[in-house]
Symmetry: C2
Subunit: 233 residues, 2 copies
DNA sequence: ATATAACTATGTTTAAAAACACAAATATAA
DNA sequence: TTATATTTGTGTTTTTAAACATAGTTATAT
């Protein structure tokens, strides 16, 4: 499931967001308690029902956070890319995990004990604000997604997802190809539709010259129109 | 839009959650800066695009938080009842409001300047944890709702909403009538369906003897079955 | 290298929910 | 009170997307 490692990675440069608000003592303590894990493609990082123990920071790779829904139909809540934190919400809510996380690609994850983090942020207002801000942004995104995913039609939902992926992962050197390669099924689970509909709608977008596809590579050709399709729903 | 008032209400007994984690100095300062506002039924408390300035605590009445969606179709994100806090997420995310709040019933709201709250929680770990925990719980709820509202069918969605309302607002002396009276339209906007479908499905539930309705009063008769309907979607 | 599994693609059918239309009941305001 | 607006209720039609079916393609593993 995962390999182990320590000390090779420079935490101060990888955990920048947290590192810069910590005192020297806190940094020392954190360094002593940090673990680095490696996950292979499709490895499960945590799953629904487990007890959250660590704050996770993704150093390398891509991670999907998803929930099992009706009839074991999965819904992807969000996708994490480096360097971002995940896995802490359930701990703070004093709940078991209600979602699962798995590696899209080979991943390097840094685990920091939540007990330690909580202990720090009780004394460290900047660290507290850091989490408050992350949670606040994520809650805003979640509220937005509910409306998009429930009210927009298939075309609007898929268009929004493509734009969101472009925004989150950026584009390759050509300035147009989205920097993440998802299976059609993942695209569907992220956009609240069946795989067939994702495939079909993607084909339509190609025919309408809004995008071009080459396997799992998606190139956005006419962003204006895609934005319009996303907006009108 | 709203009346003003001060000092008549005992903040210490109304703001309990926050009050108990504050120092005497903080309490004093907060008391000096707290404002009490009264809202009439259907009054707007804040709206999308405005700049968040205050933490709001609902002392009396009921408030709905909602977003304008596709084709000005509203989606109710959550409903607030006393004594709960709202209006702080956008401030922490450094965004304008992306939702609106309005009074379902005549409301009494206590406004506390967010600047002051932020200043406090930077020093006060317990206060910070209080917000972190609220945000974490709300984010969990939001993630759950996305899946329910997108994957469950109309019957399952409405059943879930009824159960949720019962859980949040409790029941009247008869032990079965839900303690909040919503228009069918609000019920629909909270359950992601059209008003017609809310009305129709409600009628079906009545015919199936799961609930009884008397105007806007909803009495849950067979909770077991309602739970089952909610679960199977 | 070949077999097997997983993914992509597309056409057809079926089911769900929205849209529409209208009537009745209730609430609100002049 | 009466007039007007809003809300509730129900039937019908249309649209949307899911479900199903099947084939071609690409990965993966042995």
């Amino acid at each position: 499931m995962a390999g182990k490692n320590r000390g090779i990675i420079d935490l101060s440069s990888s955990l920048t967001d947290i590192w810069r608000v910590l005192s020297d003592v806190e940094r020392e303590k954190l360094r002593d308690n940090a673990r680095i894990l490696h996950f292979k493609k499709n490895d499960l990082i945590y799953t629904e029902g487990e007890t959250p123990k660590d704050l996770m920071c993704l150093f390398k790779g891509k991670v999907k956070i998803y929930k099992r829904g009706v009839g074991s139909r999965n819904h992807i809540i969000r996708i994490i890319c480096p360097v971002h934190y995940f896995g802490y919400r359930a701990y703070f809510a004093r709940e078991p995990y209600v979602s699962s996380a798995s590696a899209f690609e080979p991943c390097t994850v840094c685990l920091l004990p939540m007990e330690l983090i909580e202990q720090f942020l009780r004394k460290n207002g900047n660290l507290a604000l850091f989490f408050i801000q992350m949670l606040s942004v994520d809650l805003g995104v979640a509220d937005h997604r509910v409306v998009s995913l429930t009210q927009k039609h298939v075309r609007g939902r898929l268009a929004e997802t493509l734009l969101l992926l472009k925004e989150s992962y950026g584009v390759e050197e050509d300035g147009a190809t989205i920097n993440i390669y998802l299976a059609r099924e993942d695209l569907a689970n992220f956009s609240n539709m069946t795989t067939s509909n994702a495939i079909r709608t993607l084909s339509n977008f190609v025919n309408e010259r809004m995008i071009a596809i080459d396997g799992r590579k998606i190139k956005i050709i006419d962003e204006e129109r895609l934005i319009k399709v996303s907006r009108i729903g």
